[in-house]
């Protein structure tokens, strides 16, 4: 648990955060989101014509007196939201800064996932967490409540980075678990070309998708001097280069790649926020969950 425990100050700052559902929620029970289920309730939704089988007590008799017709009064019910947090567990997520070797991108992703589970639990939504890697999916079931949140936190601990971004076939179980109208938060480093495609498919199938991109400080600043052999953690490819000589070019290409990723995601209506590892974790969450 130690790796994903939320610091107290961070946890207090999470209280102001709210998931905002773009689609009407379909969860069962009472929640904070505008639900699609209608019926008896407090919040008036609409009138509709009486149909045989409707309970007589639901007929609006005052309206009948005015219009001489039977109308049934329908109320909307606020429903809980279903949130899924998908963690990119490919090997590239193990990237960490030399200044803070223990705080890798995946550690940051775990912390953010724990925060999201906390936010969901605070507002009574159900939450599930999955880590995605070509070595296999790890799915924590969706659920709600404080005990479920603790189970999710416990389930984050053994997650490890391994392999690459999973193939379409490997992702198939997700489609069964993640129902439409679900809020999906993808936390990744955004380096895999398959990620925007997958996110676009999620968004196209009526899932509300949010994307959190993690950037290490070394990727942002490229502080390397002298000769290095840069090794890709996923493919093992090696690139011998001189740090200072390629800095400007790398920074330009990296910034262009991030902009291209954000553009692709925005095309699918996906809000994307980049997060550097040296920033406070609640900053990107605040940006991500801000009401449009």
């Amino acid at each position: 648990m130690s790796g994903v425990l939320i610091p107290a100050d961070l946890r207090s700052r999470l209280r102001g955060l709210r998931f905002a559902a773009r689609h009407p929620a379909i969860g069962l029970g009472l929640g904070l989101h505008r639900g699609r289920s209608r019926g008896a309730g407090l919040e008036f939704e609409q009138y509709r014509a009486y149909e045989p089988g409707d309970e007589p007590r639901r007929v609006d008799w005052k309206l009948y007196a005015r219009s001489d017709r039977f109308f049934v009064r329908e109320a909307a019910r606020d429903s809980p939201l279903s949130v899924w947090v998908l963690l990119d567990a490919s090997a590239s997520m193990a990237q960490a800064d030399a200044a803070r070797p223990a705080y890798s991108k995946f550690a940051a992703a775990k912390l953010l996932a724990a925060c999201l589970a906390e936010v969901a639990t605070l507002q009574g939504d159900s939450c599930g967490i999955a880590s995605l890697s070509s070595a296999g999916l790890t799915l924590a079931p969706s659920g709600s409540g404080a005990r479920h949140r603790d189970r999710l936190w416990l389930g984050l601990e053994p997650m490890r980075t391994q392999g690459e971004w999973p193939s379409e076939a490997q992702l198939a179980p997700l489609w069964e678990r993640i129902a439409p109208e679900t809020l999906v938060v993808i936390i990744s480093d955004g380096l895999d070309a398959a990620l925007p495609v997958f996110a676009a498919r999620l968004a196209a199938t009526r899932r509300q998708v949010l994307s959190l991109g993690l950037i290490s400080c070394e990727e942002r600043d490229f502080p390397f001097e002298g000769g290095y052999a840069f090794v890709d953690p996923e493919t093992g490819a090696e690139c011998r280069s001189d740090g200072a000589a390629v800095r400007a070019e790398f920074l330009a290409r990296f910034a262009a790649a991030r902009a291209e990723l954000a553009r692709q995601l925005a095309q699918s209506g996906i809000r994307h926020v980049d997060h550097c590892l040296d920033e406070a974790p609640d900053v990107p969450l605040r940006q991500l969950l801000a009401r449009a």
């Binding site: 997520m93 990237q95 290095y228 690139c239 790649a257």
Partner: protein, 397 residues
């Protein structure tokens, strides 16, 4: 100016290579880094080929430190340029002061005797200095030794004029070399060392003994020997002759031996080996260096034996066998050969032994720089340690 007493110590500067190599190796040590965003990197023209030095300030400090240590090993001294000084004229004892003053025109010079302590040259007025000068001439010191001492002691800018007798006696095996600009003026006069070295084998005032031993054939050679004795006696040489048959025992040394008895015995050779003069006739061999020759051929040969020589006539010492003995100067020449010591020559014409000039050093007295340099190096070492152990601003990555 800085001079070095042991320039070979500078070879320690070869150690400068060590920090250079260390700093180069640390640079070429390529670090392997797992970097997820590697796909946006481009390999850049083999940075390994570029010679770059790690931490140049530290390297410079270390190089300076090592160079300073090399200089320290070379024993640096500080020499100031010597002030100009009046020239010196040194006159060897035995040369008349007045003659020297007329021969050498040097109005501003200081005049000195070339003797122990280099006393001033008397100008003929003071009886005491004249007496001291006479004592100097009577108790001579080898001129070469005195000149070397003078060369060492005089300020380097002093020009030297050396007045010496035309024949120098008491020279040693090494040619004189002076670092000063020296003018060599040979003048007629007696070499002061002549009396001291002289002819060791014939001390003046004592009689020279010559033992002549002959056999039957050697009796024919006796007339020549007697003629030689008469010629030498006419020259004023006091000789005690001891002529006898070959079976008569030889006198104890010192005595010259003329052996006219044919075969040279081992006891005779031992005598020659001990340094005695032994002249043998009818040797029958032509071995040895020719020490006396004539238009008809070699007359006398010398075989080196131990400390001395065996002088030998190949044939018989008779006027008919050896026409050279008829020459009027033969006795004189033979005497010269016999009387010459077997050691190296110590006298020479002064003109032929003029001093050679060595590299001239224009330096005054030297001041030791070792403590100052050591202090500077200690400071440098502290600074180097400070820089080397300083916390680096950016991580080693």
């Amino acid at each position: 100016m800085i001079g070095l007493l042991a320039p070979a110590g500078l070879a320690a500067a070869a150690a400068l290579v060590v920090p250079l190599v260390i700093h180069l190796i640390r640079r070429s040590d390529r670090r392997v880094l797992s970097f997820a965003a590697m796909r946006y990197l481009r390999a850049r023209s083999n940075p390994r080929a570029r010679l770059r030095l790690d931490r140049p300030l530290l390297l410079a400090l270390r190089l300076v430190l090592l160079a300073g240590l090399a200089v320290l090993l070379a024993l640096p001294v500080w020499r100031s340029h010597a002030a100009p000084a009046p020239p010196w004229v040194v006159v060897a004892p035995g040369i008349d002061a007045l003659a020297a003053r007329t021969a050498v025109r040097a109005p501003l010079a200081e005049w000195h005797r070339l003797g122990y302590g280099f006393p001033a040259l008397p100008d003929g007025s003071d009886a005491a200095t004249l007496a001291a000068d006479a004592r100097l001439a009577a108790d001579p010191v080898p001129l070469n030794s005195l000149l070397r001492q003078l060369d060492h002691e005089l300020l380097p800018t002093v020009a030297l004029t050396i007045v010496v007798p035309e024949t120098l006696v008491g020279l040693d095996a090494e040619r004189l070399q002076l670092s000063h600009a020296a003018t060599w003026v040979p003048l007629p006069g007696r070499s002061p060392a002549e009396a001291a070295t002289g002819l060791a084998r014939a001390p003046p005032g004592s009689e020279l003994r010559i033992a002549v031993r002959y056999d039957a054939a050697g009796a024919d050679e006796l007339p020549v020997v007697r003629a030689l004795g008469a010629a030498w006696a006419a020259d004023g040489r006091a000789i005690a002759w001891d002529i006898g048959a070959s079976d008569v025992p030889l006198p104890p040394p010192p005595a010259w031996v003329f052996w006219l008895g044919g075969h040279v015995s081992e006891s005779l050779r031992a005598r020659a080996r001990a340094g005695e003069v032994v002249l043998a006739t009818r040797l029958g061999t032509s071995a040895g260096e020719v020490v006396l020759d004539s238009p008809e051929g070699a007359v006398l040969r010398a075989q080196v034996l131990g400390r001395g020589r065996l002088l030998g006539v190949t044939g018989a010492l008779r006027a008919d066998a050896l026409p050279a003995v008829r020459a009027p100067d033969f006795p004189q020449r033979l005497w010269t050969v016999l009387a010459r010591p077997a050691s190296v020559p110590t006298s020479a014409p002064a003109r032929s032994v003029a001093p050679l000039a060595t590299t001239r050093a224009d330096w005054g007295p030297a001041e030791d720089l070792l403590p100052a340099l050591a202090a500077v190096l200690a400071l440098l070492f502290l600074l180097e340690r400070l820089v080397a152990t300083r916390r680096r601003a950016r991580p080693a990555a």
